[in-house]
Symmetry: C2
């Protein structure tokens, strides 16, 4: 390792990006202390990454590389996009190794990198499926072939190894492949765009990492050429499945496959960050508005429909048959993070936080070796996390997100430091000589203490995010209240000539509260959800000896939060008074003439809610987020 | 045509079936007069069947046969089960031609039959896909190859041509194929069962038509061998996708692909009708109980989930993202009809009627050339019927069902005649010298007049179905009230020495009523549906100038029905007072802290409901069956 890479950027680097209002911190600019995310990171490092390596062996991903290199014989195994699983796993390993050396993990990574290097073709091409199975079909099926998608994930893994570990092996492979792709596609070459976006943001990052403008140009080319209405959708779908109905600059509807749509948005935002093109920004704002007005579940989950794994119509947000793919939640985080960097506006951080603590974090099991692909808001009991999937996009995507979660805590700009997520951590802007210690039990407690450890005596601004869910936030500096605006959904800013030893105390009150959903949503009628801080709750059958589907909550009663250190790795639970309906009077009927005014008999029960993100860790069992309101 | 076939059975023949309590009438035993179904039959005959022929040409179904016969060159077109579309279309043509000769249609049928005859292999094998594309893979993939499924549909078409028209050409082809299959599969031969059930009921009918016991034995073999847990499901599914998790005699859960499940149930019921095996009957009753306790939509639709086109958990009945495939509604009709024949119990006729007037009849457009594959109960506007589908199971299934709808009107038994569905018709049991004229405007009006036209003077019983939805039915004979039991969901029976000229007047009161759904269903909370007689209603955007999703109905107000002869081919509409919520106070929020007691402002509006089965005939537009209740 060289010293140079030690202050290299994290998974996204906007340190020299012209149209970023906020600059990402170097990878070593955030060091997590013991807390909510670092506990998950430990499991990720100690269980998930090893498990992933075993699964990549077992599912045939490595076997496919060995077929190319001649180290194995037989048939190609699995779907044609298997390579990307390896790349996302490697990206996760890079960030894990940077945080904490691990000799065994390094050997695994070296094995994988060796296979990848050996599988690259003399002309730079790299894809095991199209090398082994259909060598004549290279780039023949951009809509469904996933070659550019896999390439994008290789680039991101390569950037991770270079930035986090100063290891250029994958980067050399990546640039050879990128140069090969640039020799095939471009304004005077072959036209086209990838059926599954991903390479766009990877190419922009490759430009940031290498300084080679042609990678940015190629990203722009793929984005510009999309939207000709030519791509063949899956199932009932037309070009909207691939976000190919209209060009991005005229698009206004989030539609089609949710992961594809959100990866594309992240790539377009990356392009905007570099070019500052207003038409792109305007499109992004239209599309973000569309998504956040009835196309996100209260978990932050995206993709209402199983059909095409796609966005639904506005306010089409089913509880049980929603898709809410873990990868879509991750993609939403990636997009909103880029919009936050572009604008500095808290609304993007709010959407990001909603997904991170809920619809993303429900993906991995506490054991680190089981994963949800789909994240429903209601289960009648038959649904459980699996060790792996035949389409295994989610597990390694979870791993790379957890391994790099620290990136989202803080940024800098010319005026100072911004804190976006709160966690026990050291945050350092070494270029400016600023170091802060954050002490908090967030998201379980709303008290956040910021200790100024180093500063150069100049005046600068500390920006503290006040989440949209938080009313009556207060701030003290060195014990004294400060009268700065601390509105929900904004950044409170304190500008002063900070001194080492200064202490800022932010208090984000976290009463348990009930949420209601917009009346245009059909599935949440007369129901409420429980939230505390950024954490959404659910009822799980494991905590109840009656049918959850017959339960109601008393919306007027008070809700109690209590810490249970031995439950599910330590969680805050919520208890609430409710009722159990006696549906016996219905007999065997499913539909009957309306009997107005006849209420079913009910008995008082106690409801016990656990965070949504830990549901399903006590075996497959029923769960519901939205709880019918009693006695309206 | 011989005289013999003129009194041959309809699509199902239980005239000599030992364990049938009710006997089906000969094909000419029911002649429909002008009315609800015959209007649809006319469109079916005049538009749909011609359209179907064009589509079979356009989609490549006939082309695939020509590839086998050498009349065409090129690639096989479409999915591997394309042949069945031709067979179901032919079955429909046979019943249409029997009711009303049509020279042009006969030429089309002859062309198709000629192709099929020429495509049959010397050994009797017949399947264009596995003859043209994968000749080495005959019977290699029973789970997904659909060869036995296609064969079953050929058998049914062949039986239809033989019974309805005395035309044995297809029957000769069918028996050669059946004999070939029997030479491959059986107790001392190859083990296995078809991934998609269908051949079971077809083989039982082939036995009934030919008297050849080996076809019944083969049906029993396929049913007996199912349930080994070996079939590979689609997507996330295991063997339950194919109803292969457990043997039928121990099954108790309706699960997996809904059409597969229901076709299997129909076949098992056919087997029971012939063998009287109690274990089969017990299984059928368990499974029927399971299905009717929370796995059927109020439309009679079956298959709650897009995923696997499958049954959901009990009470999992989404409105917008349900599947409710048209073929599943048809399959439910087929199964319930067989259970009715086996038992004579009205509950099976009720389920059949619910599906026929609602979830089945929503399939075809009024123009006869567009069809729903999926039948949701809520659409936000983007969903429309298509001319055809790449998986085109539904359109010809609709055609054969409409062409043979008369079969469901009446049956006989040793004691008399039973009327199940009411329609303008002549019903004749020529073997017993009984003829009845039915006069009614059902389902729009509840008055049914039965005129005894012919009878032999002996005493017999007339059984009149009193639908489960009907309270206070009354019966008069020759003008005088009769005091027989006429409970909802039963058969009223009148036994006497009927004389020609006797008149029975059945009055089935049809007030408009509101239905509520079981509290365990999450998606219908505090909502009601409108029903009148057997006809379910919906709100359609075309009739309203405000957002249907913001509408509520006043459950205490009176509902008015009115005939609109110029609307949608003539329908009874229902008007109801309701409210339109002003959701402006929500601003851009989708979720917010509960504001108990704060009701949204609303204005009075008039709601206008149309029958669910005609929705979507005025362009793609929003629709909802379940309407939130105001002011609970």
């Amino acid at each position: 390792m060289s010293d140079e890479h030690m202050s290299a950027a994290g998974p996204l680097d906007t340190t020299r990006t012209p149209h970023a209002r906020l600059r990402t911190l170097p990878l070593d600019g955030v060091t997590l202390g013991r807390g909510f995310w670092s506990l998950r990171q430990a499991t990720n490092r100690e269980a998930s990454l090893q498990h992933g390596y075993r699964m990549l062996e077992q599912a045939g991903n490595f076997h496919n590389f060995r077929l190319v290199t001649g180290q194995a014989q037989g048939d190609y195994r699995g779907r044609l996009f298997m390579d990307e699983n390896v790349y996302k796993w490697l990206e996760a390993v890079a960030y894990a190794l940077a945080a904490s050396p691990d000799a065994a993990l390094r050997v695994m990574a070296d094995n994988a990198i060796g296979l990848i290097a050996a599988a690259q073709q003399p002309d730079g091409y790299l894809n095991t499926y199209f090398t082994v199975v259909e060598p004549q079909q290279r780039w023949a099926d951009l809509d469904h072939g996933h070659e550019l998608y896999c390439a994008g994930h290789l680039f991101q893994a390569a950037i991770a190894f270079h930035r986090a570990l100063g290891d250029a092996r994958l980067l050399n492979i990546a640039t050879r492949l990128a140069d090969h792709i640039a020799s095939v596609f471009g304004p005077d070459k072959r036209d086209g765009a990838p059926g599954h976006p991903e390479i766009e943001m990877a190419l922009v990052e490759l430009y940031r990492e290498t300084g080679e403008r042609r990678y940015l140009d190629l990203a722009k080319f793929f984005i510009d050429r999309r939207g000709q209405g030519k791509m063949r959708g899956l199932g009932w779908y037309g070009p909207e499945y691939h976000q190919d109905r209209v060009p991005i600059r005229t698009a206004s509807i989030m539609e089609g496959h949710a992961v594809r749509a959100l990866y594309l948005m992240a790539g377009v935002t990356d392009l905007y960050l570099e070019t500052g093109e207003q038409a792109l920004f305007d499109a992004l704002m239209r599309l973000w508005h569309d998504m956040t007005h009835g196309k996100l579940h209260v978990t932050g989950g995206a993709g209402a429909r199983y059909e095409g794994e796609s966005f639904g119509d506005p306010y089409e947000l089913p509880n049980d048959q929603c898709y809410c793919e873990t990868c879509a939640a991750i993609a939403s985080v990636m997009w909103n993070w880029r919009l936050l960097l572009a604008t500095g506006e808290a609304r993007f951080a709010d959407v990001m936080e909603q997904a991170l603590y809920n619809g993303f974090l429900s993906g991995p099991a506490l054991d680190g070796t089981h994963f949800f692909y789909i994240n429903p808001l209601l289960s009648r009991g038959g649904y459980a996390r699996a060790e792996w999937y035949s389409v295994a996009c989610c597990p390694p995507n979870i791993m790379r997100t957890l391994a790099s979660i620290g990136q989202y805590l803080a940024t800098t700009d010319a005026g100072g430091v911004q804190l976006h997520l709160y966690h026990q951590a050291r945050v350092a802007d070494s270029a400016r000589g600023i170091a802060l210690d954050i002490e908090t039990q967030y998201p379980w407690q709303g008290a956040v203490k910021v200790l100024v450890k180093e500063t150069d005596g100049a005046s600068w601004t500390l920006s503290l995010r006040i989440p949209a869910w938080c009313r009556d936030a207060t701030i003290r500096v060195n014990g004294a209240p400060v009268s700065v605006s601390a509105e929900a959904g904004s950044y409170a800013t304190i500008t002063r000539a900070w001194q080492a030893g200064d202490i800022v105390e932010l208090e984000l009150p976290m009463p348990v509260r009930l949420l209601e959903a917009h009346p245009l949503i059909d599935t949440t009628r007369d129901a409420v959800a429980i939230q505390r801080g950024p954490v959404l709750y659910c009822l799980e059958q494991a905590d109840h000896d009656f049918d959850l589907m017959a339960a109601q909550i008393d919306p007027s009663a008070s809700l109690q939060a209590a810490w249970e250190g031995d439950l599910l790795g330590g969680v805050m639970i919520v208890t609430a008074p409710g009722y159990l309906l006696d549906t016996g009077a219905w007999g065997g009927q499913v539909y009957r003439p309306l009997e107005s005014g006849k209420e079913l008999p009910r008995q008082s029960v106690s409801l016990r809610a656990v965070p949504y993100h830990v549901w399903g860790n006590r075996g497959a069992n029923a769960m519901r987020v939205w709880i019918p309101r009693a006695g309206r």
